[in-house]
């Protein structure tokens, strides 16, 4: 089609702020989310920076104890609910799901926009919490500290999380209906890209688990504001009940954070190895298995909480079971490289980094799933290292890999490949320097949420803080060069990576309605050979 006949891209369909704030286009909404979550990422990152500065010395001398408690709380609240849970689904998911299945938009475009507004409203409550003086309960809000004893702005924070939870639920609902009902002719379930499977499973978890969070937060509110005993034993309540309710949501929530990242990894590795994914059906089944079994393991956060020994056995066993599909995925990604034709552009570096760091994080999860071992390690830096390996080494690296991979499609520009590769490698190194020492600190018995610590832990803490400064730099670099590419990047063709997938069959950036005609799908995904 000649340049002049080509329909305008979705970016050109209105230049006013109003056209963005009232859009129904899933692609624009994806960008609105991307801007919002990036802002919150840097808020959460600022908190982390202050934490690591404090922990560079054993004495609690950088901030007061109360301030430190508020810092780790806001770091957790922001990173979990305002960055990790929305990140891939609301940015890449929103942008790509309709395109990957050959549709024009999501099933409920206005619900999609409402989801963004709820995110912003929840975010406003969180910022209000910060301005009002912060909350110091930890992102886990354990009772009766949060419901009775804390003198910080618990309710403001709780309302913020409650509201953003509904953003999650709306997004999940939208994806489920879209994937079920709007696939293009010939796009059967087993021809879907794994990113769609991953988003689908994530959406199921979002819709089923998040309401439990909403209820649990409401119960904190009922106790704190109305004095009705739910969790405080002095009022006839049970503090352990909170933990069961909270972790019933928050464990599946971590699968909301990792499953989309696994989907992104599959898309990138197949493209840059120019190979079909090894074991497509096992990969899709593993995604669903993780989502389902992920609902059954919450008590592994409670092995020393006062839960019964027998419950401990059941949750431990199921936690080992849920590790099996994750292992399968790692082996299959590795096998996808076999006899491939591999190149190492920035997305591939991020994806390979994801596989390596997720492997380490997942293996350390086995330590924590083992009841006896968890006794010593729980609430130490071992746990912190474990979940950062998965959430940062895993999810954040995959998110950035996806942003780089689909950047040409989303923006119509190419980023500078050399700087991007350097940043990816810098991130991998900075990440390991930050978090690997924390495994050692955990085994040594350094407790989490402590702003001061015994002097023998200083060496490892200094290494960790040094790593954090490198990691911070490696996050600022993409912000800079990606933004720069919007003005000065080379224009991108429809398919600069020669990738398979319906999203690459349309222009970069795509027109508002995505495809001129509904595509017809005739073969399996990843037809790289």
């Amino acid at each position: 089609m000649a340049e002049a006949d080509r329909p305008p891209s979705y970016l050109a369909a209105g230049y006013t702020i109003r056209s963005w704030l009232t859009t129904h286009d899933h692609k624009r909404i994806g960008i609105l989310f991307a801007i919002a979550i990036t802002a919150f990422f840097f808020i959460g990152g600022a908190a982390a920076t202050m934490i690591r500065i404090e922990l560079a010395t054993p004495a609690g001398d950088f901030v007061t104890d109360d301030t430190y408690n508020k810092l780790f709380t806001i770091h957790g609240v922001v990173m979990v609910w305002f960055f990790l849970i929305p990140s891939i689904p609301t940015t890449l998911g929103n942008f790509l799901i309709p395109m990957m299945i050959g549709a024009r938009d999501l099933a409920f475009p206005r619900l999609n926009l409402a989801s963004w507004y709820l995110y912003v409203l929840g975010g406003a409550f969180t910022v209000a919490t910060l301005i009002a003086g912060g909350v110091d309960t930890g992102w886990t809000f354990y009772t009766p500290y949060s419901s009775i004893y804390s003198n910080s702005h618990v309710m403001l924070a709780v309302v913020g999380v409650f509201v953003v939870g509904f953003s999650s639920i709306f997004t999940g609902l939208n994806f489920i209906v879209t994937i079920h009902t709007m696939r293009a002719p010939g796009m059967t379930w087993f021809r879907l890209p794994l990113f769609v499977w991953a988003t689908y499973a994530t959406s199921l978890v979002m819709v089923l688990a998040t309401p439990v969070l909403a209820m649990t937060l409401s119960l904190i509110g009922i106790e704190r504001l109305l004095g009705i005993g739910v969790f405080d034993p002095a009022l006839g309540g049970d503090p352990l009940l909170f933990q069961h309710l909270f972790w019933f949501y928050s464990h599946p929530a971590v699968y909301i954070m990792i499953l989309p990242a696994m989907g992104v990894a599959s898309e990138i590795i197949t493209c840059f190895a120019r190979n079909r994914v090894f074991g497509y059906r096992f990969m899709a089944s593993a995604i669903l298995a993780i989502a389902v079994i992920g609902f059954l393991v919450w008590g592994h956060h409670m092995f020393v909480s006062g839960q019964s020994v027998y419950a401990g056995f059941v949750f431990s066993f199921l936690s080992f079971v849920v590790a099996v599909p994750s292992a399968i995925k790692v082996f299959n990604w590795t096998a996808t490289l076999y006899r491939g034709d591999i190149s190492f552009e920035a997305p591939m570096l991020y994806a390979l980094g994801f596989v390596g760091l997720f492997t380490i994080g997942g293996l350390t999860g086995l330590f924590l799933a083992a009841t006896a071992l968890d006794v010593h390690l729980r609430d130490t830096y071992f746990v912190i290292a474990h979940f950062h390996y998965i959430m940062v080494g895993g999810s954040v690296m995959a998110y950035l890999g996806g942003i780089h991979f689909w950047w040409p499609k989303i923006t119509g520009r190419l980023y500078h490949e050399g700087i991007a590769r350097f940043a990816a490698i810098l991130m991998f190194c900075g990440f390991n320097l930050t978090f690997f020492p924390q495994y050692l600190l955990g085994y040594e018995g350094m407790i989490r949420r402590y702003h001061e610590y015994p002097p023998q832990f200083q060496l490892l803490n200094v290494l960790s803080s040094a790593g954090a400064s490198i990691l911070a730099l490696s996050y600022l670099m993409p912000l800079a060069y990606l933004a720069w590419s919007l003005w000065r990047g080379a224009p991108a063709t429809a398919n600069p990576w020669q990738a398979q997938g319906l999203e690459w069959q349309t222009a970069s950036p795509p027109p508002t309605h995505n495809f001129e005609a509904a595509p017809l799908v005739t073969h399996a995904p990843y037809a790289y050979r």
């Binding site: 930890g138 009766p144 431990s316 099996v324 399968i328 490289l337 009841t371 010593h376 018995g445 002097p455």
Partner: protein
């Protein structure tokens, strides 16, 4: 860097078993992680773009190898699960004849009391080589009693008792830390466990503040609160006698049978209508608000001291 050591000291019977499992896992997981890294690296180099190497696609079913690498990890995981579960059950089962110590946690300190009466704040003196059982509760929020050198940890909850046992195998001082975030001074809620030779421990105990034993203090409180009015030998009210009760089964009016442990006694004092003994009516008043956590532990120590006493003959 004073005291920096890579290997945390092992000072309890559990710590040795723990480290065997821990380091087996370290070796096993390292092998897997290194294996994955090596294969990723070898494939990345061998099949890089531009290398002239055979790339004919793998033909044949992927299922055999996929089943293999599904079932093998599962079996290994099962083995770890069983090993850990056995250790965990052991860690949760105090042996008979353990030395009992009461622990009351509050923001931001540990209050400990030996059954002989001696109290300690943020420190616990113990004899070497004898199992010690802690009965713990909190006055406010959830705390957690953690001794890294012993590899033991247990959350301490308000409104209930949790227990922790260990047997020290080396004399010395070991850090005690609060391992559940509990507010402003969570990081300062630390202390020491001081393990001594049994003879030195006995000396320390006898030289301590001359407080009455917990059981004696409990007996005094039993009288002063009026408990003996109903439960005593000459009471005219039909109430269960408490001799020979602790540690033995109790038949309840709803048909259940429970073992009378610390939690049962505590609940009987604070929530007397919860577990009513068979053959009695729920007329006992609650003492909620009239007894502190420390008082309760002393009362329980007194009732425990009656565990092997015979009920007094009924006076008519």
């Amino acid at each position: 860097m004073s005291g920096f050591h890579l290997l945390e000291p092992r000072a309890s019977t559990f710590a040795s078993s723990y480290d065997w499992l821990f380091f087996t896992m370290v070796v096993m997981c390292s092998v897997v992680a290194i294996g994955v890294f090596v294969v990723l690296t070898v494939f990345s180099i061998r099949y890089r773009r531009g290398a002239s190497v055979d790339r004919t696609p793998f033909s044949g079913s992927s299922h055999p190898i996929e089943y293999a690498w599904t079932i093998t990890p599962f079996l290994i995981f099962l083995g770890i699960f069983v090993w850990a579960a056995i250790l965990y059950a052991e860690a949760k089962t105090p042996p008979p004849g353990a030395l009992d110590v009461s622990v009351v946690a509050k923001q931001w300190m540990w209050k400990l009391q030996h059954s002989e009466g001696r109290r300690e704040i943020n420190e616990l003196h113990l004899p070497l080589g004898r199992p010690v059982r802690l009965v713990m509760t909190s006055e406010d929020v959830i705390h957690s009693f953690y001794v890294p050198a012993f590899r033991v940890k247990q959350d301490v909850l308000p409104g209930r008792y949790t227990e922790l046992w260990f047997q020290a195998t080396r004399t010395g001082e070991y850090p005690l830390e609060c391992a559940e975030y509990c507010g402003t001074d969570h990081a300062r809620m630390t202390g020491r466990i001081i393990v001594m030779q049994p003879a030195q421990y006995a000396t320390w105990l006898s030289r301590g503040n001359l407080a009455p034993s917990m059981a004696a203090a409990g007996e005094e409180r039993f009288r002063s609160l009026g408990c003996s009015g109903c439960h005593g030998a000459n009471a005219s009210v039909h109430a269960p006698k408490l001799e020979g009760v602790f540690g033995h089964p109790v038949h309840l009016s709803d048909g259940r049978t429970v073992i009378a442990d610390e939690s049962y006694i505590r609940d009987s004092i604070l929530l007397p209508t919860k577990d009513v003994v068979a053959g009695f009516v729920p007329i006992m008043p609650s003492f909620q608000g009239q007894v502190s956590e420390g008082d309760l532990l002393e009362l329980i120590a007194y009732i425990k001291s009656l565990a092997n006493a015979a009920p007094p003959p009924r006076q008519r």
